[in-house]
């Protein structure tokens, strides 16, 4: 199983509790500033320190992140305003906000959960409408300067830029052909009312599954404590049996079973997550999960592949080889969208 080092666990536990005294105890260690920055937990640490009577004793490293909370607030409000702009332009489109903004506004104290882009989710069939709308609002596709491009087998999102702002429009959690899709996530969307507007979000179980998938796919081997913290903070609201049911429906049954086992290495999460189901301790798995810092991308891709259910990719690839490109989505809205 992937190594979880002691410093990471200690930092996580101090923030999860939250326990300012434990945080103070850690703050003197040589590697502490680097760990806090790498894991993007500085603003949360500043909030934890703020609850301490003599906050100054936590040290300058943590207190220095108080200003970062302010810039995080600006990011939250800007993202909220962009969502409002999309909604005003087409109230019926209702993209679901995933991860960053949703987690920041639902599970964290103000300004303590950083994020760098806006993640939206829409079923594939609704994408052309959003593509057309984003163009109208002066967003530019980031992946391909051409106006028309079919979605390849490996795409799960489209990226758009306007000035310094980024939107990722997700239409799958993992590449198609390996699982059954998650369009029902959109059908279960919920309204989160915020001051000056609101956003659509996944329900708690879908949010948990998205977070677990993201952690497994992108961040198990990389700096990952922020995403572990996401799970910790949302866990009390989640029905984990329902997560397992939906994961099975999506063809991702192995994923939550493995991830909850992994996450229970953190004592705070042991109390909040079900036992999960450990994967076989074969030499291959031990190699794959032995070190988080080496061959990060390759290990993450392999893990993602192994955690999806039976390989549905084979018939997909065969059909692609025999029949040419599979039905995808044409980004050129003039052509009518779905082709």
């Amino acid at each position: 199983m992937a190594a979880v080092d002691r410093e990471e666990v200690a930092l996580f536990e101090a923030l999860a509790a939250p326990d300012p005294e434990r945080l103070t105890g850690l703050s003197g260690a040589a590697g502490f500033p680097w760990l806090l920055e790498r894991e993007r937990l500085g603003p949360l640490a500043a909030w934890v320190a703020d609850g301490k009577e003599d906050a100054g004793s936590v040290g300058g490293t943590v207190l220095g992140y108080a200003d970062r909370r302010r810039s995080n607030i600006a990011d939250e409000l800007k993202a909220q305003q962009i969502c409002a702009e999309i909604e005003a332009a087409d109230p019926g489109i209702q993209p679901v906000v995933l991860k960053g903004l949703h987690f920041a506004r639902s599970f964290y104290p103000p300004g303590t959960r950083p994020f760098s882009d806006i993640d939206l989710f829409l079923p594939r069939r609704r994408l052309p409408r959003l593509v057309s709308l984003l163009k109208r609002l002066d967003w530019e596709p980031l992946d391909d300067p051409a106006t028309s491009r079919r979605l390849s087998a490996n795409w799960v999102h489209l990226a758009w830029r306007r000035g310094r702002n980024l939107i990722e429009v997700h239409f799958d959690l993992v590449p198609p052909g390996r699982y059954r899709g998650c369009d029902d996530l959109w059908l279960r969307r919920r309204r989160l009312e915020l001051d000056g507007g609101g956003i659509w979000t996944p329900d708690p179980e879908d949010a948990a599954l998205v977070a677990l998938t993201h952690l497994a796919k992108e961040h198990l081997f990389q700096p990952h404590l922020l995403w572990v913290m996401d799970i910790h903070r949302m866990a009390p609201e989640v029905d984990w049996n329902l997560v397992a049911v939906r994961a099975r429906r999506w063809g991702l049954e192995r994923l939550p079973a493995f991830m909850t086992t992994y996450l229970r290495r953190y004592p705070s999460l042991r109390r909040r997550l079900p036992p999960g189901r450990p994967l076989p301790r074969t030499p291959f798995w031990e190699w794959l999960l032995a070190a988080r810092a080496k061959l990060v991308q390759q290990r993450a891709r392999l893990l993602g592949l192994l955690l999806t259910d039976e390989p549905r990719r084979a018939p997909y690839l065969l059909r692609r080889a025999l029949c040419g490109p599979l039905p995808g989505i044409c980004l050129d809205s003039d052509s009518g969208g779905l082709d």
Partner: protein, 94 residues
């Protein structure tokens, strides 16, 4: 040219501006310029009172019951604050 705000002016905040409270402060973003505006404790209280339309004198009266301050000084401060908020497109005059 826009008219001055005085104690009889009715004002209210724009309801579609995203904002958030952190402890005693309120942060507001204005969509047109992406500007982040920050109100201190008293400013945050004024922002709350601006949720519905009311005249400035009513806001001053409300705050006099909450803070120990002279009416004249408070009135001047509130008029100054509202003028700034109006220039930043946070409030509208009715």
């Amino acid at each position: 040219m826009t008219s001055e705000i005085d104690l009889t002016t009715r004002v209210r905040r724009y309801s579609d501006l995203p904002w958030r409270r952190i402890e005693n402060e309120i942060f507001i973003i204005t969509p047109d310029d992406g500007g982040l505006h920050n109100l201190n404790e008293v400013g945050a209280r004024v922002w709350e009172l601006l949720a519905g339309s009311r005249d400035v004198a009513g806001i001053v009266d409300q705050l006099l019951g909450e803070y120990e301050v002279e009416r004249e000084r408070l009135s001047a401060d509130i008029l100054g604050l509202l003028a700034k908020m109006r220039r930043a497109d946070l409030i509208e005059v009715l």
